[in-house]
């Protein structure tokens, strides 16, 4: 009897202590309405899938829609920090929103795990010990594309991107690795949907290939119009114009295009296979790279929760930095600026039955870090 009572009391005490110490609240600010909603929804769905699979009841997630507006994102971050009292923030898709929210949040002692945006200032001079990027630094995929162009013996690229900071980072990233000549370089209007003028210039330029960074609907428009123009040069792009959400809308026009990505659904490891299967079973569609980033972000967080209490910031930070979780990308580690060191693949758009998707053809850059790590002083 005495023993029994003791055990009961002990387990009650343990339970109370557990609930008090290990509970963690995450604030997710992401884009769920408007033109860019597909990306935010994928990140959210990937994240929540991992939370559900972990079965942890002490992990609470608050989700809000930033409408792709920096001012809304800042308000939401304030609300989450002050009234919701979250411990960790995550979710932002766009670099301009990340620049508005991240520095202020980490300065208030919160952790921020980026599932997508990786603007260069936050990787270099503006890095912070509480800011972790689980996706990539913005330049990474473009650098891999530049490296691929060299290996594919492309010597005269025509390159284009929208006229805004991430567009300039993109072409800078490409040129950092690409060794050939440029047949032309165009900055298009952000949100432009008609590319007849640019395609006519590509035709007249004598280029041997085209590299473009046109995320979302801009890429759909460009690819459809390019396929219909009779210009027959090879096209290379980052995964942002070839993700699972976009390919069905582009259709056959994208077949055979090479694109660079840190993730693909055919990366061969058990975590990734299980992720693709369970995502498709739960949501009825194939995951995109954004979904994989959301999934990895949640699993990184859960791995840190297993090792340390978020109240003990130093221990929790080391647990995050160790990155001991099973990534869908296989090997995953953080560099000195808390940005990933990872392989970046070259994929090709293929058709499987009715569905357009990607398959890996080679590794573009192995164990790739970023160009800004040296500027980061933590």
């Amino acid at each position: 009897m005495g023993l029994h009572k003791f055990a009961l009391a002990a387990s009650a005490a343990l339970f109370a202590a557990g609930a008090q110490a290990e509970g963690l609240k995450v604030g997710m600010i992401t884009t769920l309405s408007g033109g860019g909603a597909g990306l935010g929804i994928d990140v959210r769905d990937g994240f929540m899938l991992a939370v559900e699979q972990s079965g942890r009841s002490d992990l609470e997630v608050v989700i809000e829609d930033d409408q792709r507006k920096p001012d809304v994102a800042v308000q939401l971050a304030d609300k989450m920090i002050q009234s919701e009292k979250v411990d960790v923030l995550t979710g932002i898709i766009w670099s301009n929103l990340a620049m508005a929210v991240v520095p202020a949040s980490v300065a208030q002692g919160k952790f921020y795990l980026s599932p997508n945006a990786g603007p260069s200032p936050l990787a270099g001079k503006g890095c912070h010990e509480n800011y972790f990027n689980v996706a990539w630094q913005n330049d990474n995929l473009h650098e891999a594309a530049g490296a691929y162009a060299n290996s594919a013996d492309l010597k005269n690229s025509f390159i284009l991107a929208p006229n805004y900071p991430a567009g300039k980072d993109a072409l800078t990233g490409y040129k950092r690795f690409y060794e050939g000549e440029l047949a032309g370089e165009i900055y298009t209007k952000l949100g432009q949907t008609d590319y007849a003028s640019e395609i006519a210039q590509i035709r007249a330029s004598g280029a041997d290939s085209v590299y473009f960074f046109l995320p979302g609907g801009m890429g759909i428009s460009f690819l459809k119009q390019y396929a219909d123009s009779g210009v027959d040069l090879p096209v290379v792009g980052p995964a942002f114009s070839f993700d699972q959400g976009i390919l069905q809308a582009v259709g056959a026009a994208a077949l055979g295009v090479k694109n660079t990505s840190q993730w693909s659904k055919d990366i061969d490891n058990a975590t990734n296979t299980a992720f693709v299967e369970s995502f498709e079973a739960k949501y009825g569609r194939l995951p995109s790279l954004y979904a994989s980033q959301g999934f990895d972000t949640a699993n990184l967080l859960i791995s840190a929760m297993g090792k340390a209490d978020v109240a003990d910031q130093d221990a929790f930070r080391s647990a995050l930095q160790a990155a001991e979780f099973d990534s869908t990308r296989g090997d995953f580690a953080f560099g000195p600026n808390n940005h990933p060191i990872q392989d970046i693949y070259v994929r090709e758009v293929v058709q499987e039955g009715d569905v357009f998707t990607n398959k890996i053809v080679s590794v573009g850059l192995k164990n790739h870090s970023d160009a800004y790590a040296a500027d980061c002083k933590m």
């Binding site: 006229n163 209007k189 006519a200 007249a204 609907g217």
Partner: protein, 305 residues
């Protein structure tokens, strides 16, 4: 730069212009006759594109898809006219802007609810794929050439309707004096609904035609709406002729500006600076055009007295 490239770019500008005209025609009629600022006109463009994509996916026929875009957008137009817009004619423009802005949000989220957040697939028909060779060896997209043809046909039909038919006479009368044609026994509320449906159908038709070479997604109508407003301000509000001339002017200025400005700056600057300055200035070119036109003719090119 060669002459061939310049002619090709001019065709591109013309194609862009005639598609803008389809949007601007409805907008200018609705403003001219009813005095209504309809921000939701871009949503009707989106409705047309989504209806076309859905029907094309179900039947595989592009012609049926175009019919669906006309019907769906006209139906949506009638619906919002009867339910919402009708109550706004006597209100001031600020109320109209507020109510039609609300309609944008309702249409956008409603479309997302019905079709999901991911862009839909809509492709040009196989028989319009590829390119044709024009005189002087110019290779040009068959579909874009058809767009120019269709746009000009619609414009001709619209002029015929407004100048030669009874309904056209009433529309013109409505533009001149709304109260008077009501007093003369014309069923003004039916006329308004008809004009609204016509404008909506044209917008939906444009959405379907353009959706086939761009992306069919939520929010696709708003950028076009802004350009359509620029067109009707340049052309003179209420004037169909103004809308046509304004649309072609805007189309040519935008396309040729994007193409020529970086090259012109390239004569005096380094290539990267020229690209950056040229493309920034090209984004502004149509607004500079608008400011220039308004400076000389404050009511637009064909605006009334």
């Amino acid at each position: 730069m060669s002459w061939i490239l310049l002619i090709e770019q001019t065709l591109n500008g013309l194609q862009f212009g005639v598609m803008l005209f389809l949007m601007a025609a409805g907008l200018t009629l609705i403003f001219g006759v009813m005095g209504l600022i309809n921000l939701a006109h871009g949503s009707l463009y989106m409705v047309g594109a989504f209806a076309a994509a859905a029907v094309a996916a179900a039947t595989g026929s592009f012609v049926l898809a175009l019919v669906a875009s006309l019907v769906a957008a006209a139906f949506a137009g009638v619906l919002i006219e009867v339910l919402v817009i009708r109550r706004l004619y006597d209100r001031d423009h600020l109320d109209q802007v507020l109510a039609t802005f609300a309609l944008i949000l309702i249409f956008s989220e409603g479309t997302r609810w019905a079709f999901g957040s991911f862009p839909l697939f809509l492709d040009r028909p196989e028989y319009l794929a590829g390119t044709v060779t024009l005189p002087f060896g110019i290779e040009y997209s068959k579909y874009r050439l058809s767009l120019i043809g269709i746009g000009l046909l619609v414009a001709a039909g619209l002029f015929w309707m407004i100048m030669r038919t009874r309904i056209g006479i009433r529309i013109r009368a409505g533009e001149n004096d709304r109260e008077m044609i009501g007093a003369l026994g014309v069923d003004i509320s039916l006329l308004y609904t008809l004009i609204f449906a016509l404008g909506a159908a044209l917008a939906g038709f444009a959405g379907a035609l353009i959706g086939a070479i761009q992306s069919v997604q939520v929010g696709m109508g708003e950028p076009v709406l802004i350009l359509a407003f620029v067109v009707i301000v340049i052309g003179g509000i209420g004037s169909i002729k103004g809308a046509l001339i304004g649309a072609v002017l805007v189309g040519l200025t935008d396309t040729l500006g994007r193409f020529l400005l970086p090259q012109i700056f390239g004569l005096v600057m380094t290539p990267s600076a020229a690209t950056s300055v040229g493309s920034s200035l090209a984004s502004m070119s149509i607004y500079i055009l608008m400011a220039g036109v308004l400076l000389v003719r404050p009511k637009g090119l064909f605006g009334g007295a």
